[in-house]
């Protein structure tokens, strides 16, 4: 096996790469944990209908792994997310697949230490980078 699939998730509803089979899984645990209402599901579903993606529901890692098997894939690509739920799913998948997580385009490319104690401290550091036109 030497094929790749892509995993679209609610924190990055866009393709990582064109022409790679894509899957999205409605996470039943997340929907219940955050008590999502129909509005959010409709918003996400409308977004998915514009993408060449297979839409599933259930346990995310299990469904992505199933989709990979169906496509004879041993590698999955996805955009990174800071949500711990994504981190756990990514770890589960890594037991079965090579997981290649891509960084979305950074908002600010600051290389030094950022003090996050209060927004004002963070802003003081990033402001010069953000307010100049690139």
């Amino acid at each position: 096996m030497n094929r790749t699939i892509q995993w679209i998730h609610p924190d990055a509803m866009r393709l990582v790469e064109a022409d790679v089979p894509a899957v999205f899984v409605f996470d039943e645990a997340e929907i219940e944990a955050e008590a999502w209402t129909l509005k959010r599901l409709q918003f996400l579903y409308e977004t998915l209908l514009e993408l060449p993606v297979e839409i599933r529901r259930g346990d995310v890692a299990a469904e992505v792994w199933r989709f990979a098997r169906e496509h004879g894939a041993d590698r999955v690509i996805a955009f990174d997310s800071v949500n711990p739920r994504f981190g756990a799913q990514r770890e589960s998948l890594a037991a079965h697949l090579k997981v290649d997580v891509r960084e979305p385009e950074p908002f600010v490319d600051y290389r030094g230490h950022l003090d996050l104690k209060r927004f004002a401290r963070y802003w003081k550091r990033v402001e010069p980078l953000l307010l100049e036109e690139s």
């Binding site: 609610p10 129909l38 409308e46 800071v82």
Partner: protein, 264 residues
């Protein structure tokens, strides 16, 4: 799952069948559509220059980009580039860029704190310990029956559209936490349930900012402030106009609401 639908209502019916618990919580569909096409149209319509002057007004030029940013349909870097392209001088987009930076800031904290964003980051600066705040979202609040025209309207708007102006979110959060003395987590869960842009980091940490468990003082307001920035639409028809709990100077309200002196 299916991909062939004849209309938004057709999709909504299908989703209600597939996710009955979500539909039972609230079956409304937002007028804000999903999708990259809608995101692009929303982005094309932003006015970052005007935003700086009147974003705090409920009828001001807010962008409604947040649901698209929350779900990664648009990213902050491309929104920033677009904002700069709309103004003659970079400084005119500054206020808008600050708001994008708040989102980046919350995401960075989420990366370091994870689920800890559900806990008080610091003790509240209100003079009350955590035990003074009740756990439950009161039913009159949840059901838009408080008798306060503003708060009831905010709840109805949240439930029917999945969106609230940022100022309305702040007023509502302050009302719930400081006037009703409810734990911020209950309000945060209510918002996460209904907001299209509901994101645990931006949502919870903004609630903590209002509650003063992640800021140096509690956020609160008075009726004059709400009336000004809402254009008076709620106060005009409010059954308790002139005698609501938000009447008074900031000093008088702080004396009533908090046990310690709160700086303005």
């Amino acid at each position: 799952m299916r991909r062939d639908f004849t209309s938004r209502d057709d999709l909504a019916r299908y989703l209600a069948e597939q996710f009955p618990a979500a539909a039972e919580r609230a079956a409304e569909i937002s007028p804000i559509p999903g999708g990259a096409r809608a995101a692009g149209e929303t982005l094309a319509a932003i006015e970052p220059g005007r935003y700086a002057f009147s974003r705090n007004y409920l009828n001001g030029p807010v962008t409604k980009l947040s649901p698209y940013i929350r779900h990664g349909i648009l990213n902050l870097a491309e929104v920033r580039r677009h904002a700069f392209a709309q103004v003659r001088e970079a400084a005119h987009a500054a206020k808008f860029i600050v708001e994008l930076a708040w989102r980046d800031y919350w995401q960075r904290l989420y990366r370091s704190w994870g689920e800890e964003i559900w806990r008080d980051r610091e003790p509240a600066k209100t003079g009350f310990g955590a035990a003074a705040y009740s756990e439950e979202l009161p039913s009159d609040v949840r059901e838009a029956r408080t008798g306060l025209a503003c708060m009831d309207a905010f709840v109805r708007e949240l439930i029917t559209t999945g969106y609230l102006h940022n100022h309305a979110r702040m007023w509502f959060a302050a009302y719930l936490v400081h006037w009703r003395r409810v734990r911020w987590q209950s309000g945060a869960r209510f918002f996460l349930s209904h907001l299209l842009d509901g994101d645990p980091a931006s949502n919870n940490l903004s609630w903590q900012w209002v509650a003063s468990t992640f800021s140096h003082k509690p956020y609160f307001f008075n009726r004059e402030n709400l009336e000004k920035y809402s254009g008076g639409v709620y106060c005009r028809t409010c059954p308790v106009r002139g005698r609501c709990d938000f009447e008074g100077s900031y000093e008088a309200l702080a004396d009533r609401l908090f046990r310690i002196e709160v700086p303005r």
